[in-house]
């Protein structure tokens, strides 16, 4: 029942089959947008534009509304993410201890802006407000590991360590 998706995917090389099976499960349940987005993110690692367009047509929800929802929640990502997620703290304690320089250094070393992913898809650089380890300020977290009492001279070593 309901409107038929009349959009035609322009780029057939993109793999929509994972999205198809997710939608198969949720299509007829009203109000299932968030679980669908979560499942998509789980499968693809982020919310790819083409998949969102497809979801929009199938669920009959405008893509603008979907992205409105997705950008409201910090858990969703619109860009492919790196293998490692770097969370640089910019909370009060870290800010006082020079978090800004740490982020600048990271961004320079990885050649990415905050929020972006390196070309080799190894790192995504993000800023967070307080990691709850203020006594170690300034702090960054790479995946599940916390690195504290850094300086703009030492933060590069953390990256090198992970790379090697």
């Amino acid at each position: 029942m309901g409107e038929i998706n009349t959009n035609v995917a322009e780029d057939e090389t993109f793999d929509l089959s994972k999205a198809e099976s997710i939608l198969e499960k949720y299509k007829h349940i009203r109000g299932s947008l968030i679980p669908v987005l979560q499942a998509i993110q789980f499968e693809y690692g982020y919310l790819p534009e083409k998949v969102i367009d497809f979801v929009s047509g199938e669920l009959n929800i405008s893509v603008n509304e979907i992205i409105g929802v997705a950008t409201f929640y910090a858990q969703f990502h619109l860009q492919q993410r790196g293998k490692h997620i770097i969370k640089a703290c910019s909370g009060t304690a870290c800010h006082v201890k020079g978090a800004k320089q740490i982020v600048e250094k990271l961004s320079e070393k990885l050649e990415v802006h905050v929020g972006d992913t390196t070309k080799d898809k190894l790192f995504t650089l993000e800023e967070v407000a307080c990691l709850g380890a203020c006594s170690l300020a300034p702090v960054i977290m790479v995946d599940e590991d916390v690195y504290g009492q850094l300086s703009h001279n030492t933060v590069g070593n953390v990256i090198d360590g992970i790379k090697s």
Binding site: M1, T6, N7, V8, S62, E65, I67, G68, F72, L78
Partner: protein, 882 residues
């Protein structure tokens, strides 16, 4: 409905239970500041400005008026010191980052934010912050979005989603970064209805057609009726120094609640198009030469007289206008029938479907209508059959969405294509049927209704005269056959039947796809049968549900031109021209004696006569048969034989190009009169500007010619014509031009008491179906239809509309496209046995495999050149793009 008594600012008022304080105040002309609440949108409660003091059940508290319902004995104070202090603080926050660009903002003077700041006597706030300065978004031809002026009230988002059903914009991001925008910052891709612009309380959305050509306080505002489709929305023309600068809407006027489509709101530039014909033109040696009015009138009058003397008046054909006013059409037929002495008159809608007038009259006689199109808002079930609401009558779509929102209406859509109608209905059943199977599909639905006893069969049996014939007629329908022929599963047929017969009001709208099918007449009759079934069953003293049926006609006055009798078979008001008594009545009114020619319908089919060379002269008022008549070749062949052609038009249409004399006529903005919309509602135009160039209104031109030909067409103003229409057309007898200023006129309502007690007689037509297929060389079947963005010469000469939709296109199913190796956007040739046209391909699943669709609304692609039968086979191939 329970009524609640309360006091707001010492004024006692009564409001229905459930109303919020804000709305109750609005309804009683009490002002509460507020920027996010809007009566036609769902409540949002985001701006926090509508803070008021509320005393209820002995407690005094502060509440937000838009979010708090009225209660018995409640006392509300809008202007206490505390309330004002709060409001000022809220305003301070709203203005803290705001662009404050009043000197350069088009909204200045009509801006909600500016007004409230002014009322509250705001001084520069306590906060020193950075003003927002994000770049202005100009990614589309009609709307501009300046987010620096946005206060995130959410009105535009709601309007777009709830009224237009589109959802082109939404809040993006969160916290400080929240903006109104599109996904992935894509360019705005929407129906460009301008609903967002209309509800925005600030200058964030701007009308690009206005540019900087005037300030709100400099404009004169003239409400009038939209000249495009048959909905008949009220638009307000803003004029300055005698020219139209923009169109705005007014929620309180007309039937459209301030909702418009892109044509109505942004398609006004044709009025001052440099391509308007500004003087009379006479063709000499194949070239048009400008002429003085006197000379052109004299020449036409002489020539027509000569022809009449030589051959008699009945060799002159007249084509009236689906776009001109009722008054002009009335005079036109009177002119043809009295001055020229011919009954060889018609209008394009009647040429396309000569059975329609009779059937519409029949549905009116049976009372199958709500008071007007607006009644759609009260529907509990909506059935759109063979009509693309979104493209053909967009604002009816808004009304339908209102019904879905307010009454949880269900939707059933039957169409040969997967048309788009965005809505939030809980049940939205789509029956995509094969071409030619519409009649059997409908019969199958009726069969299910009767067999499954979905209606009160006993009541129907007793309240109609021949229910048994309907039963025996559908008995023969084989459901499996219907399923196979229509391609609609029995399951879907059953769900449709169930939804259609739910208690409450059922609104049926049918359109082009039904009417212009070879089985159109039978299908409409069967639709009336269905309507009767539902109406009789749903309507009782306890359940006041009704069934109503509307026909979606094409132009703004397609109904009126027929009402006025610009058809061979009827005098004004559907009076049978062969009825001697009626004819005599008209003769008396007009003070003439009809010549012997004015009889009988069949012998006066304009096209047949012309084909046989029996039409020597053609007089066309405000129509372009060359592009509008279904078969382009046939009409061109006919016109070739005609010696002398006169055309009244505002633009050099294809038909005008063939004329010997062209009279420049005024557009709707330059005239008075009335239009009758597709729901039989007659509304009044108001003149906003004087005629452009030397143009004259069509009725003045007719009068001039008639006078020159020695008849007394001495009308000085519209009212004199409307008074005469009242006398001539029985269905318009309750009509008053003056009263139209306050209230629209709806002629079927006046026939209500005549509906009386005779029982409905079912047509009970045995199911029929056709096999529609392509041919070997031309494997695809072409269908055509309306476009939301265009409609004839007016839209083609409106820059904004041309930028929104620059090119005509052919919709091809994706599988077919793949087989033919056609990609989306390729330039292709669409070719039939009769002709070929080049256009852009649009690859989509809207058209099912085997069917291609081309809008018939682009004047530069006269699709009728290809068409020689209802479903013309075509082929498509790619061509070079140049």
């Amino acid at each position: 409905m329970k009524m609640i008594h309360l006091t707001i600012d010492d004024k006692s008022i009564i409001a229905p239970e459930g109303t919020n304080i804000f709305q109750a105040a609005l309804d009683n002309n009490i002002y509460i500041p507020g920027l996010c609440y809007h009566p036609k949108l769902s409540q949002f409660g985001g701006c926090r400005l509508c803070y008021v003091e509320v005393t209820e059940r002995k407690h005094t508290r502060h509440r937000f008026a838009c979010a708090h319902p009225v209660s018995e004995g409640m006392v509300v104070k809008v202007n206490t010191t505390e309330v004002n202090r709060h409001r000022k603080t809220v305003m301070e926050y709203l203005l803290a980052h705001h662009e404050l660009a009043c000197p350069t903002c088009n909204k200045s003077g009509e801006c909600g934010l500016q007004n409230i700041a002014h009322e509250l006597n705001m001084s520069p706030g306590r906060f020193k912050t950075v003003r927002m300065s994000a770049p202005v978004i100009r990614d589309n031809p009609v709307l501009e979005l300046n987010r620096n002026r946005c206060i995130l009230c959410g009105r535009c988002v709601s309007a777009c989603k709830e009224i237009e059903g589109v959802g082109a914009i939404d809040f993006q991001n969160r916290g400080f970064k929240t903006v109104i925008g599109t996904a992935f910052d894509r360019p705005l891709d929407c129906s460009f209805c301008g609903g967002c612009l209309a509800v925005c309380p600030t200058g964030a959305w701007q009308d690009r057609t206005l540019g900087f050509s005037g300030r709100p306080w400099e404009f004169e505002s003239i409400p009038t009726i939209c000249p495009y489709c048959s909905v008949g929305c009220t638009i307000v023309l803003n004029t300055k120094e005698g020219s139209v600068r923009r169109v705005v809407s007014n929620d309180k006027l007309g039937i459209n609640e301030g909702n418009l489509c892109v044509k109505g709101r942004f398609g006004h530039e044709f009025i001052h198009s440099p391509e308007r014909i500004k003087t009379p033109l006479i063709k000499k040696d194949g070239e048009f030469q400008p002429a003085r009015w006197e000379d052109a009138i004299e020449m036409v009058s002489d020539k027509l007289k000569q022809i009449m003397e030589k051959h008699g008046g009945n060799v002159i054909g007249g084509i009236g206008s689906e776009k001109c006013t009722n008054e002009e059409n009335y005079l036109f037929q009177k002119f043809c029938r009295t001055v020229l002495g011919t009954n060889c008159i018609d209008n394009i809608s009647n040429m396309k479907a000569p059975f329609l007038n009779g059937l519409l009259y029949k549905s009116v006689e049976r009372g199958f209508f709500t008071d007007s199109l607006k009644g759609i808002e009260n529907a509990n079930t909506l059935f759109f059959f063979g009509v693309d609401i979104t493209e053909a009558i967009p604002v009816v779509g808004c009304m339908a969405r209102k019904a879905i929102q307010l009454n949880s209406a269900n939707v059933v859509i039957a169409n040969p294509r997967n048309i788009i109608f965005k809505n939030t209905a809980k049940n939205d059943v789509r029956l995509t049927y094969s071409l030619g199977s519409q009649h059997i599909l409908l019969n199958a639905i009726i069969k299910v209704i009767i067999e499954d006893k979905l209606v009160d069969l006993k009541k129907i049996e007793s309240s109609t005269s021949n229910f048994s014939s309907l039963c025996s007629s559908v008995q023969n329908v084989s459901l499996s056959n219907a399923e196979q022929l229509s391609g609609v599963s029995l399951e879907m047929i059953r769900s449709a039947a169930k939804l259609l017969t739910k208690p409450g009001n059922c609104c049926i709208v049918y359109g082009k796809d039904v009417i212009e099918d070879p089985l159109g007449e039978d299908t409409i009759k069967t639709l009336l049968d269905l309507c009767a079934l539902i109406d009789v069953s749903n309507h009782s003293d306890i359940h006041p549900g009704r069934a109503s049926i509307f026909c979606s006609r094409y132009h703004n006055n397609s109904q009126g031109v027929n009402d006025m009798g610009v058809v061979p078979e009827f005098l004004p008001g559907y009076v049978d021209i062969n009825d001697a008594a009626n004819k005599e009545k008209i003769e008396k009114l007009w003070g003439i004696k009809f010549s012997g020619n004015i009889v009988s319908k069949n012998s006066f089919n304009l096209i047949d006569l012309a084909k046989n060379g029996n039409v020597k002269s053609l007089y066309v008022m405000g129509a372009d048969p060359l592009t509008e008549y279904p078969n382009g070749n046939e009409i061109r062949e006919c016109i070739k034989n005609i010696e002398f052609i006169v055309v009244q038009d505002s633009f050099m249409t294809e038909t005008a190009k063939l004329a010997d004399v062209v009279f420049p006529s005024s557009t709707f903005a330059e005239k008075e009169g009335t239009y009758t919309n597709t729901g039989f509602t007659t509304q009044r135009l108001n003149r906003a500007i004087s005629p452009v160039g030397n143009a004259k209104t069509d009725w003045e031109i007719i009068c001039d010619i008639a006078k020159k030909m020695g008849q007394s067409f001495s009308y000085r103003e519209i009212k004199e014509i409307t008074e005469e229409i009242k006398k001539a057309a029985p269905v318009y007898s309750g009509f008053s031009y003056d009263r139209l200023r306050r209230k629209e006129f709806h002629w079927p309502s006046l026939l209500l008491d005549k509906i009386g007690s005779n029982k409905y007689t079912f047509f009970a037509i045995r199911d029929k179906s056709l096999k529609v297929k392509g041919e070997k060389e031309f494997p695809l079947v072409l269908i055509t239809g309306a476009s939301m963005n265009h409609q004839g010469a007016y839209s083609a000469k409106s820059k904004a509309l041309v930028s929104v939709a620059p090119e005509c296109f052919v919709e091809i199913n994706d599988k077919d496209a793949k087989d033919m190796q056609i990609k989306n956007g390729d330039m292709v040739m669409v070719e039939s046995r009769q002709g070929k046209l080049k256009m852009r391909s649009k690859v989509t699943r809207k058209s099912p495999s085997g069917i291609v669709f081309v809008p018939d609304a682009y004047v530069n692609i006269p699709i009728n050149m290809l068409i020689y039968q209802e479903y013309t086979p075509v082929k498509i191939y790619t061509v070079l793009d140049n």
